[in-house]
């Protein structure tokens, strides 16, 4: 009896060990990737926030807290707040446009669903910069839209280079990232739930508010996150479609590294950005768990 227990325990520990080994083999590449390409660079960025800028660039390893106090300088705080505002507006518009789109696609016959989804993803096959430049060609003073409107005796209008065009560019660029998770959530929804709601006397609007929306909320949150995150840190769209007339926190970070040669403060701004995003991710995890 004792003997069999011992051998049983040994076998169990052996199989535990081999399972651990197996896990390590499968997790290894992913873990290495994360550690080498994500965690170590991130740790370096974190460590830079504590030091001073070198006079000619680089980092001087003298501890200082001034990068963090500078973060609360009204100048930078304003840029961060205005980025938050622009990203939020873009996210809300993307949601308002994306939800009905995703809903319609989910209701299509199977064959057309694929076509519609491919059409949504198709723009991603073209280079991002090319698509943004296409907007400039469309909207510029002597551009296509203005010349068409001119034929009708309207305009010319100044479409480009303001915050409105920045939001348009953000919505346009990231709308697919809103539609896809929403589509996945709506498509998963059991149609019988809606039928049951209708059978119990709820009108379509009531069914939407009490059944469809709550059940697709994780999709809403994920979609919003997917649009908000790249919008918040974007610097190409404000530069090209905003004409450099407004800056977002992404531009600020880019400028610290490429113009001001101030890596520590750039890192601190990046850290602030990451902190905001972590809060959002926690909110998403929380809402996903509740659902």
């Amino acid at each position: 009896m004792t003997r069999s227990t011992v051998s049983g325990a040994a076998a169990a520990s052996r199989s535990r060990r081999s399972r651990a080994l197996g896990r390590l083999i499968f997790l290894g590449p992913g873990l290495t990737y994360l550690i080498v390409l994500l965690l170590i660079p991130l740790a370096l960025v974190l460590s830079y926030t504590l030091f001073r800028r070198g006079r000619f660039g680089g980092v001087v390893y003298e501890a200082t807290g001034e990068n963090f106090t500078r973060l609360f300088d009204p100048l930078y705080l304003d840029v961060i707040l205005s980025s938050l505002r622009l990203a939020t507006i873009a996210t809300v518009i993307a949601l308002l446009v994306g939800y009905p789109t995703a809903y319609l696609i989910a209701m299509l016959p199977r064959k057309w669903k694929t076509v519609a989804l491919v059409a949504i993803v198709l723009p991603f096959w073209t280079n991002f910069l090319v698509r943004i430049y296409a907007w400039i060609v469309l909207l510029s003073g002597p551009g296509l839209v203005n010349s068409t409107l001119g034929e009708l005796g309207l305009g010319p209008f100044e479409f480009l280079y303001n915050q409105g065009t920045i939001v348009t560019g953000l919505v346009y660029s990231y709308l697919p990232l809103m539609v896809l998770p929403l589509y996945a959530a709506i498509e998963k929804l059991d149609p019988q739930l809606r039928e049951a709601s209708a059978n119990l006397g709820a009108r379509p609007a009531r069914t939407f508010v009490s059944v469809t929306l709550p059940l697709t909320l994780p999709g809403v949150v994920t979609g919003c996150l997917f649009v908000f995150v790249p919008s918040f840190g974007n610097f190409i769209i404000p530069e090209l479609l905003g004409g450099g007339r407004s800056i977002m926190v992404g531009n600020l970070i880019r400028d610290q590294f490429l113009k001001a040669r101030d890596w520590p403060f750039g890192s601190t701004l990046a850290l602030a950005l990451i902190a905001v995003l972590i809060v959002l991710l926690l909110l998403q995890a929380w809402s996903a768990r509740r659902a």
């Binding site: 070198g54 840190g233 101030d262």
Partner: protein, 374 residues
């Protein structure tokens, strides 16, 4: 930025690892923190070194040297030439000041950056005995404020900044920076200015009669006021595509570097405003860390050859500080290219941009303030 989730203990461990890396990098940074003394120690170079045993790696802007340069250098000097590219001064500065060995022998940077690199102790002084072609340079090219006497840098191209405009879409040609800052009715919302901080500030600085190298907070406050007022009439801030905008008629008046103004086109012309402007210089420097210093000097000497240096003037349409090279530039091309008509004396009326050290942050802040204001 990062969306991945990870276990709780890993970040702490990685932070420790990162700090360890950072601390270990300190050694390499020593040169950076050293007092900005000029690099006095110059290496002993052998004028008879066998150049075929050396190779030269340069970093330069794309399109700034002829494509065939490596073959030509190989033929002439028997030295392998490797060309790497940088897109801005800041990129190459980031590389050179990171403390790592870049393997570069020669870098092309603007004058004020050469000055900063020298103060950081990263440059080898130029050994004039190895660069006999320095004699081809205009005497004025030895009077540049960031490096008088070409001690640590050799000028490659030079020019100034002015207003590039449409002769057909403006009622009167601009003559003053104020025409750009406070444009006439037909040019409102059809003006662009540059976004790189020193040039962003230049029109306002000159309109107010200050120095391009001002460090005065009071003056910069006035400059900011002027720039903010100008923003209302601006189409966009643009460092790269202003020439295209002008050709399309999207803009009618832009702040431009002389060589970037498409003045060869019909209806487009270039003017240096009456209040004066800057003098920018792009230079070649030899890095202290270079292991091929003899070949690096031979390379610079080769570039100063009139035929080679003349290529830059005829192809990128920047004036070059090389008298012998300017003399062989095609007369027709010169006649229709304002940037090639500037004489050294005219160029030297422009104020040389120098590195402002810690005070350069004032310009960064100014640029951010102007951009952030709605």
């Amino acid at each position: 930025m990062s969306r991945s989730r990870y276990s709780r203990r890993l970040p702490a461990a990685a932070l420790v690892a990162g700090l360890a890396l950072a601390v270990s990098a300190c050694g390499g940074e020593a040169a950076d923190t050293a007092a900005p003394a000029a690099s006095a120690s110059s290496a002993q170079l052998d004028p008879n070194a066998d150049l075929s045993k050396q190779s030269v790696t340069i970093s330069v802007w794309d399109g700034y040297t002829p494509k065939e340069l490596p073959q030509q250098v190989k033929e002439k000097l028997k030295t392998e030439l490797k060309v790497t590219l940088h897109d801005t001064n800041e990129t190459i500065m980031g590389k050179l000041t990171s403390g790592a060995d870049t393997g570069l022998d020669v870098a092309f940077v603007s004058g004020q950056y050469a000055q900063a690199l020298n103060e950081a102790g990263l440059l080898e002084p130029i050994h004039p005995e190895l660069v006999p072609n320095l004699a081809n340079l205009f005497p004025e090219a030895k009077e540049l404020a960031y490096d008088k006497g070409n001690v640590f840098s050799v000028p490659y191209t030079w020019g100034t900044t002015g207003i590039c405009y449409r002769t057909d879409l403006l009622k009167t040609p601009p003559t003053s920076w104020n025409d750009l800052l406070d444009p006439p009715a037909e040019a409102k919302k059809k003006v662009t200015m540059m976004t790189t901080e020193r040039w962003l500030a230049l029109p306002a600085i000159k309109a107010l009669g200050y120095s391009v190298n001002t460090r005065s907070d009071e003056e910069l406050a006035k400059v900011k006021e002027k720039l903010l007022a100008a923003k209302a009439n601006l189409l966009a801030y643009d460092d790269t595509t202003f020439g295209e905008r002008l050709k399309k008629g999207e803009a009618v008046m832009v702040e431009a570097w002389d060589g970037w103004c498409p003045a060869g086109e019909k209806n487009i012309d270039f003017v240096v405003p009456k209040e004066g402007s800057d003098l920018w210089v792009d230079t070649m420097v030899v890095l202290k860390s270079s292991k091929n210093k003899e070949a690096a000097h031979a390379f610079i000497n080769y570039i100063l050859d009139p035929q080679v240096h003349g290529w830059a003037a005829s192809n990128i349409l920047y004036s070059v500080p090389n008298k012998a090279a300017m003399d062989i530039v095609d007369a027709d091309l010169k006649a229709k290219t304002p940037s090639l008509q500037m004489t050294p004396a005219q160029l030297l009326q422009g104020e040389s941009i120098i590195d402002l050290g810690e005070d350069s942050q004032k310009f960064t802040r100014l640029a951010t303030e102007v951009a952030a204001q709605q």
